[in-house]
């Protein structure tokens, strides 16, 4: 028997300056599912995710968590149950790596010992044990991405909302951190550009283009030669062996 969806988007629409950045997007994510939100640049993936972490209120449509609309949750309760990895440049002046992870634990009822343990484990998992006292602003792009992933791992929310989680990461950390998230068995909604990673990690994917839903289903079904040609404008194929690209079309 299939479980009820944990997260649902129903006809989600986001209009900015008259432009429909997300246009009637509907998807369901079941508990423990790794769901990929795929599409080319400007497809509306990040905009959809922004609605989920309360950056923007959708113009229309519904977002449900455990069958209850987002509006039924207080801002803090929603933030406690979801966690987002966000692509945002912030200078992080005056903060070391440990500070950043500790700050991200805001609103969590933890004892100081639990707090320390979570911070330590998350930094360790992200390969930043050596950098705990280092100024966050001095970390490289990849290290900062790992630091923000460490924040999420320390919070360990029910739902991970990941916007391009593998940005700036080398291959080792791409696999190590996505494995870590998957192994926790949490529910994940992630925007991904790397289709090989999408086919490796996602149970289900939703392909969107120009804000509209193109296809939905298991990654190998959705990432068909036709969809790659029409949505990504590339000639190629995705199989269990990985991504095989021929040329841009």
């Amino acid at each position: 028997m299939r479980s009820e969806p944990l997260l649902q988007l129903r006809e989600l629409t986001q209009v900015v300056n008259g432009k429909r950045l997300v246009d009637g997007l509907s998807l369901s994510v079941r508990p423990g599912e790794f769901h990929g939100l795929l599409g080319p640049n400007g497809a509306g993936k990040t905009t959809a995710l922004r609605c989920l972490y309360q950056k923007k209120m959708p113009t229309s449509g519904e977002i449900l968590l455990n069958g209850r609309p987002m509006a039924d949750y207080s801002r803090t309760e929603w933030a406690r149950r979801t966690g987002a990895l966000i692509q945002e440049n912030a200078p992080l002046h005056g903060l070391n790596a440990t500070d950043v992870v500790e700050i991200a634990l805001l609103g969590m009822r933890l004892t100081p010992a639990q707090r320390r343990r979570r911070v330590h484990e998350a930094l360790d998992l992200s390969g930043l044990t050596e950098a705990t006292d280092q100024q966050a602003s001095e970390l490289s792009g990849g290290e900062q991405q790992r630091l923000h992933l460490a924040c999420l791992l320390a919070r360990d929310p029910e739902i991970y909302l990941l916007d391009e989680p593998t940005n700036h990461l080398d291959l080792h950390y791409q696999l190590r951190l996505l494995d870590a998230i998957r192994d926790r068995g949490r529910t994940v909604l992630a925007t991904l550009h790397d289709l090989a990673l999408a086919s490796r990690y996602c149970d289900q994917v939703t392909l969107i283009d120009h804000g509209k839903q193109v296809d939905q289903g298991p990654p190998l079904d959705v990432l068909s030669t036709d969809n790659l040609r029409h949505t990504y404008r590339v000639q190629g194929s995705v199989s269990k062996q990985g991504l095989h690209l021929v040329a841009a079309v």
């Binding site: 972490y53 309360q54 801002r75 966690g83 966000i86 945002e88 440049n89 002046h93 805001l106 609103g107």
Partner: protein, 336 residues
């Protein structure tokens, strides 16, 4: 540079403040012997009455008010730099000082002396500062889109320029004697402080200091970026508006009491950040104490350097506050 432990820095600065305040009370234009200083301070029967009056009625409120103003400006500076995530932000960014200046200068130059006496320049300056603050927020607010930090900064600059031109006009065409008075006020001075000025500023500084400390976790999240703070459940418009209002109150009250006191709100938060890092749990108390130390010492120097003449605070502040900051900057590699 690794941040120093708070448990070391905080007592040291508190000790420094106590020493600075004692110095502010002990030294001044009137020479007082050491035995008299202690007897006056401890209100002994042997204390000379005239010197007691100088210490308790002139120096004491002045030192307290300078310390409170320093703490207020430093707290306002920390809050502004955090809210706008801009290291160059200071408490006057929203046009508060320009509004206060224009109102005060207009009152000093234009209004009949009796009326100014009755209303008091501080109250007029306070109203001017709040008027400028209201205008900045009004210009920055865009219906449905809120207020982004950049728009607030630009609106503040526009309001500042507008009031600065009003002030310049008034000074240029004003009566020379009144203009000199107005210029003295513009450059800031703690002269003439009275006990009656202390309670209001003290209450506001203590209450807002406590509120800021209670909200230190929320302030910390702003350092991670707007979207991350929102994802952590922070209502940015509400938090920012609260911060702007707190800064307006702290700054307007300070300006009303001491005139325009620059640099403290900009530089002291950076000095504190270099000492204890950017987390607000340490930054707020250290910045407030350091702000108090700086202003008490600078006010003392203003009284002593050209005694019996007094220098305005603004003249010395830049001169005395900038070098330690530059030395500190040179010793770190992660500043700004």
């Amino acid at each position: 540079m690794k941040s120093a432990p708070l448990t070391l820095v905080l007592p040291l600065i508190a000790l420094g403040l106590a020493a600075a305040m004692l110095a502010g009370v002990f030294w001044g234009t009137a020479a007082i012997s050491w035995p008299d200083r202690w007897s006056i301070l401890l209100r002994a029967d042997t204390a000379p009455r005239n010197l007691s009056l100088i210490v308790w009625e002139w120096r004491m409120p002045r030192v307290l008010l300078s310390g409170l103003a320093g703490a207020a400006l430093a707290l306002a500076g920390v809050l502004m730099q955090t809210a706008l995530r801009n290291p160059l932000a200071d408490p006057y960014l929203m046009g508060l000082s320009s509004g206060a200046s224009a109102a005060a200068v207009a009152a000093i130059i234009w209004l009949p002396g009796g009326l100014v006496e009755q209303l008091g320049v501080p109250l007029i300056a306070f109203v001017g500062a709040l008027l400028a603050f209201g205008m900045t927020l009004g210009f920055a607010h865009r219906p449905g889109r809120g207020m982004t930090p950049l728009i607030v900064i630009l609106a503040g600059v526009a309001v500042s320029l507008m009031f600065q031109s009003v002030t310049a006009f008034l000074l240029y065409f004003g009566d020379p004697h009144a203009t000199r008075n107005a210029l003295g006020w513009l450059m800031g001075t703690a002269a003439g402080s009275r006990w009656g000025d202390v309670p209001l500023l003290a209450t506001v500084v203590v209450i807002l200091g406590i509120v800021a400390m209670l909200g230190r976790g929320v302030l910390d999240t702003l350092l991670l970026g707007d979207e991350r703070a929102q994802a952590l459940g922070i209502s940015l418009p509400l938090v920012r508006l609260s911060i702007y209002s707190a800064v307006a109150l702290l700054t307007a009250l300070t300006v009303a009491n001491l005139g325009i006191v620059g640099f403290v709100g900009l530089i002291v938060p950076h000095m504190a950040r270099l000492l204890v890092g950017g987390r607000h749990g340490g930054l707020i108390p250290v910045a407030m104490l350091a702000g108090a130390v700086v202003l008490v010492l600078v006010d003392l120097a203003c009284r002593l350097l050209l005694a019996p003449e007094e220098l305005p605070l603004g003249v010395l502040l830049a001169l005395l506050a900038a070098p330690p900051f530059i030395i500190l900057l040179r010793r770190v590699n992660h500043a700004l």
